[in-house]
Symmetry: C2
Subunit: 171 residues, 2 copies
């Protein structure tokens, strides 16, 4: 309907209303996509001083949790393609945060370890992402934040637990 478009006056305030259209706010795909993009941007902005992107942080997290594991296992944890993991580990190794070592029982595999530098960066990163989370969810009540996390978790668990490897997306 509206073809008046964008003039210049106080319309600009109303432009906000035009921007978020009702039809899209009802679409789960739109909401998930846009919130995922926004939080990712926030993470990467804050993690940039540590030379970490979101994908690197995720890998560091699972290494912290599980200790030394193979690249293949990392890929399964973060649901990232085998070939993509290579690049992520390359990045982290270049910046000295992880090391590839010999696997004790399988010479095909690499055992990936967190270095002292990696642990240090991870400690800082934990603080930074916590701050991002807090800010990102600041428009929600504590109860809403909890509910959102609970429901999203349930959603992800159901969609990723019974998955065949071949069906995986990116990371």
């Amino acid at each position: 309907m509206t073809l008046k478009k964008l003039d210049k006056k106080p319309e600009e305030a109303r432009e906000g209303e035009l921007s978020l259209s009702e039809c899209l706010l009802r679409r789960p795909g739109f909401l998930l996509n846009k919130s995922a993009i926004r939080i990712k941007e926030a993470y990467e902005e804050r993690l940039a001083p540590l030379r970490l992107a979101g994908k690197h942080f995720g890998v560091l997290l699972v290494l912290e949790e599980k200790g030394s594991i193979t690249q293949h296992e990392i890929g399964k944890c973060v649901y990232v393609d085998r070939t993509t993991i290579v690049g992520i580990i390359d990045d982290l190794e270049k910046s000295g945060m992880v090391e590839r070592k010999e696997h004790p029982t399988d010479r095909r595999s690499h055992a990936v370890y967190l270095t002292a530098k990696g642990k240090e960066a991870l400690a800082k990163a934990h603080h930074l992402v916590s701050a991002v989370d807090k800010q990102f969810f600041s428009g929600l009540s504590a109860k809403e934040q909890k509910e959102l996390m609970r429901i999203l978790r349930k959603l992800v668990v159901t969609h990723y637990s019974s998955t065949k490897e071949s069906e995986r997306g990116e990371g």
Copy 2:
């Protein structure tokens, strides 16, 4: 948590537990990212027969809601870059679902219209995406689905309503 696949021993059952690591399930960025990817995959799989990707559907939706608007306005609605909109409209025009016409009052702008074919496809698409939504959320209770949508919507509104144009992400 069963990622059984690979080998055969009972170890492999435990490997499933390894897959969805607790540390990631606590991360809002991970949860949002993975659920966004999954639902996008589902949409695109279902919409493929109509020759529509998610980005096309979003544009058709706002055209349906707002009638003929300019490409610039479409971009603001779906939060997609001006140059990216060109390509999306190109696609839709090639497949005959929209038309670029002269703008009645501004010869710089294009007034983008849904064609009959576009409306037809959109009607089908509505059904398909509804089915996807239903399936995607089938692991949640009705109440949880509603809560999730409500909270996500609140989140997106707060993060996108006061946004300067320059800060936009993709689509």
